[in-house]
């Protein structure tokens, strides 16, 4: 702006004056637009959480206890962390490791222990995991060009061999028992990874000792674990690599660095506070909240009695389905996107066909989900005989539903890799395959993962196509296998929402929504962790 009032006057006269009002109004309109969705969702989620955790029944004294034991210590630490950012970062790192560990531990238990089962998992681990791991380790030591092709061979032949030899291989697993299988297939690789991580990125402890500790600690802790009723040895062995090992390494490193030590106090105070909050009100006889969303809810079958109702079969069904959908869409979606962006001809008659396909994929993303339901019914349930309402039918149908979105976002991610990088790679004499593998994919993966996870979030909440393919509304046991009947969380929650009693309307349904959100957030956080891992990578 001009400094002299006189000159401003002449400007106005010359240009007719510029009002700032429009700009200010526009700014606040955009501000309101960005708040609108967030606020309405926040209000809704507030209600849902209030219901799901039964906060209404908690006495004021309980809230007072909560403020004293949890809110005040955490707030105090946050204030301190503003002045000491290093402590804040340490606390964040610890909290993220703990939360991520718990969530991925649950995910691992559901996928390996509940859905696959130790026998099945071990059969495929022997057929695929062991050869792949061996090839990887060999490839790191010896420079050999055949390992890459061998990996591809294992990826193709592994599932076939595993399926063909399923009987004998899973009998080996049965002989070892669940804990034995997990010790060999999960703990042992973890020890190797831990050794590698400690040796590469941390100075101080010797990786061999860490690996040894990883191998010995779960066995030594077994007697203590046996005394905890809800924690079986298998579950312990699956939580060990996701929660205990990473947390120990992170905590150990932070404790070893003097400047970061104080940061451990924050999470410690929070954990202590929550522990106190669980104990103190009981001792004082203060009424706490009566949550609908609790352990019983996530581990029992649906019921006509609200107090006994649970979401277990639907949770397992949804996760089983979404794991398959994730595998299918990643392979098919990224494959299609790579072909369309990197290989497909872009000129001539063939180019026109490519262009036609590209436009149509974009259009497919907008097709209503019911239409995909009919498609799934016709193709997978009827023609291919996958069965009505089975996990396989549901997974393939939902994969078709989200494939266009995955392909589009993967294409965008691949296209956003600058051409200069491609040209530089070609200029160095790299083949197209080498360019894709070493230059394009590493940079595109974060974008691909973001797009895929958003699409998976849509798939897990989808109901209309599931109704079309005959997925059960209520089921009392999880799906019995790939071709077993299933039910999904949104189906069950929707059914409950039409139950007449207040307890269902305001308790069970709310708890179902919270469960759905927790599963969704787990998926997202695992994806974000993976993405950050790739973004941080130095290629």
């Amino acid at each position: 702006m001009a400094t002299g009032t006189e000159r401003q006057g002449t400007d106005r006269a010359a240009f007719g004056g510029v009002s700032r009002l429009r700009g200010v109004v526009f700014r606040y309109v955009t501000f309101a637009a960005s708040l609108f969705g967030i606020l309405s969702l926040a209000v809704l989620l507030g209600y849902v959480f209030w219901d799901a955790f039964g906060l209404e029944t908690a006495a004021p004294a309980w809230y007072a206890t909560m403020v004293v034991t949890v809110v005040l210590p955490v707030a105090g630490f946050l204030l301190y962390a503003r002045r000491n950012p290093l402590a804040g970062r340490t606390a964040l790192e610890l909290a993220a490791t703990a939360t991520g560990g718990v969530l991925s531990g649950f995910a691992l238990v559901v996928v390996l222990e509940v859905i696959a089962g130790p026998g099945l998992w071990f059969a495929y681990f022997l057929a695929m995991g062991v050869p792949l791991g061996a090839l990887y380790l060999y490839g790191r030591r010896v420079e050999a060009s055949w390992t890459g092709l061998a990996v591809l061979g294992v990826l193709v032949a592994g599932p076939v061999v595993g399926t063909a030899l399923l009987g004998p291989l899973s009998r080996i697993g049965g002989f070892l028992g669940g804990p034995g299988v997990y010790y060999l297939s999960v703990i042992a690789p973890t020890a190797l990874v831990a050794r590698h991580v400690v040796d590469e990125y941390l100075d101080g402890p010797n990786g061999n000792y860490v690996a040894l500790a990883t191998l010995v600690a779960p066995i030594l802790a077994a007697p203590a674990i046996d005394t905890v009723a809800v924690l079986s040895r298998s579950v312990w062995l699956l939580f060990f690599p996701t929660l205990v090992v990473p947390f120990s390494i992170v905590a150990g490193r932070n404790l070893a660095t003097p400047g970061r030590r104080v940061g451990v106090a924050g999470p410690l105070a929070f954990a202590l506070g929550v522990g106190l909050l669980a104990v103190v009100p009981d001792l004082l006889g203060v009424a706490g909240p009566s949550p609908w969303f609790d352990w019983q809810y996530v581990t029992s079958a649906p019921s006509q009695t609200a107090e006994q109702a649970g979401l277990y079969p639907a949770i397992i069904g949804s996760i089983f389905m979404i794991v398959l959908v994730a595998l299918l869409t990643l392979v098919l979606g990224v494959g299609a996107a790579l072909y369309l962006e990197e290989y497909a001809p872009s000129s001539g008659p063939a180019g026109a066909v490519t262009q036609f396909i590209r436009i149509n994929i974009s259009n497919l993303a907008g097709v209503p989900s019911v239409v995909y339901g009919i498609l799934g019914l016709a193709v997978f349930a009827n023609t291919l005989q996958f069965g009505f309402g089975t996990v396989a039918t549901a997974a393939f149908t939902l994969s078709l539903l989200i494939l266009p979105i995955v392909i589009i976002s993967a294409r965008e991610a691949i296209r956003s890799v600058p051409d200069s990088l491609r040209e530089a790679s070609y200029g160095m004499g790299a083949t197209r395959w080498q360019t894709i593998k070493n230059v394009i994919m590493p940079r595109a993966i974060p974008g691909i993962l973001t797009g895929t996870i958003l699409a998976l979030g849509r798939a897990i909440g989808e109901t209309a196509p599931l109704i079309m393919i005959g997925v059960a509304t209520t089921k009392f046991s999880p799906p019995s296998g790939l071709f077993g009947k299933m039910t999904a969380m949104p189906m069950q929650v929707f059914t409950w929402s039409s139950y007449p009693s207040e307890a269902f309307q305001h308790g069970v349904v709310a708890a179902g929504v919270v469960t759905l959100l927790v599963v969704l957030l787990t998926m997202n956080s695992v994806a974000i962790l993976l993405r950050n891992e790739f973004e941080r990578g130095d290629y």
Partner: protein
């Protein structure tokens, strides 16, 4: 697996079966369509033992759905190896898409099977066996502030809901004692058995219904609509009203012999006419040769007299002991026939 705690034991035993069935599935057994062929194979081997296993697929009416899930829940408590899935598809949708093509073992209906459906089933060699499992009473409800229409004759209902009811019909058009305010109607969607039943009994012709109303499959929506206006009227199954008697007022229906309020007693005694109806379930007779399905149907009929389940939990009218015994004898005869 020596680490099993009692709490996780049943889940663990599921795992072994899950592994085995998953293995069979992965082994390329794609012909197994999820019901009779593959999974019931397990039951043949266990005929001699008391432990039943196998899968039961139930489809059909959303009205019978809560009753079927309540019974299935209890049945599974005694037979944890039986895998039951219940799908709410509507009576007609269940017959058309699942039961007659042989996809489901049992189809629920809130009305007797239609001739067309019977033919459709016979064409596919599916023989439905009719079982009455409870009595449902439809309730006509009005807003709690409505003090004029607490008793209505069938003719008055016909005027309000019939196909000739005009969009701007007022309460005074039906009865000149009533206020001159427009009627707001909330009723069942055309796909539901409740719609068929209501139109057939009140209008005397299936599907004859005013277009000027708010159609829904959800009872709760109807209650919310009726609560929203003193001039609103709606109808739905008895279950919802039984559990929430204070939210709206039930209309006493006069079928010529004085107005009768809907209740468990008046419905089971047959006093509450014409809006009480039997609810059906149709097992596929061929599937009754499978022990776990036959046993489930016997259990279903036994439970249909259970006041705690049928009336308190679900809100329908239980059957009498004699009626249930008759159904049981018929069922056993059908099972024996299948041999």
């Amino acid at each position: 697996m020596t680490d099993d705690k009692t709490k996780t034991a049943s889940r663990r035993s599921f795992l072994t079966t899950a592994g085995a069935v998953g293995a069979a599935g992965l082994a390329g057994c794609t012909e197994e369509s999820g019901n009779s062929n593959g999974e019931s194979g397990g039951s043949e081997g266990t005929d001699t033992s008391t432990e039943l296993s196998g899968a039961i697929n139930i489809t059909g009416s959303s009205t019978v759905f809560p009753l079927a899930t309540a019974v299935a829940e209890q049945f599974r408590a005694d037979n944890p190896e039986v895998e039951i899935s219940v799908q709410s598809t509507g009576s007609g949708g269940g017959f058309e898409n699942f039961f007659c093509p042989g996809e489901s073992d049992i189809n629920n209906a809130s009305r007797p099977i239609k001739d067309g459906e019977q033919e459709n089933c016979t064409d596919n060699d599916v023989v439905p066996h009719e079982v009455v499992v409870a009595t449902d009473a439809l309730t006509v409800v009005i807003n709690n502030e409505n003090d004029w229409a607490t008793e209505m004759t069938v003719e008055e209902l016909e005027q309000v809901w019939g196909p000739d009811a005009s969009a701007d019909q007022t309460w005074a058009d039906v009865n000149d004692q009533w206020p001159d305010e427009e009627i707001e109607r909330f009723g069942a969607a055309e796909t539901s058995g409740t719609f068929d039943y209501f139109t057939e009994t009140i209008m005397g012709e299936e599907g004859a219904h005013t277009q000027d109303y708010e159609p829904t499959e959800t009872d709760r929506t109807i209650v919310q609509g009726v609560q929203g206006s003193p001039y609103a009227i709606g109808y739905f199954g008895f279950a919802y009203f039984f559990q929430n008697p204070d939210q709206v007022t039930a209309v006493a229906i006069d079928d010529g012999d004085g107005a009768v309020k809907p209740s468990l007693e008046t419905a089971s005694s047959g006093e509450y006419t014409p809006l009480s109806r039997p609810l059906f379930t149709y097992p596929n007779e061929a599937r009754l040769s499978e022990e776990h399905i036959a046993e489930f149907m016997r259990y279903f009929i036994e439970q249909s007299t259970n006041e705690k389940v049928v009336a308190e939990q679900v809100g329908y009218v239980p059957r009498s002991d004699e009626q249930a015994q008759q159904e049981l004898d018929d069922l056993n005869a059908a099972i024996e026939e299948m041999g």
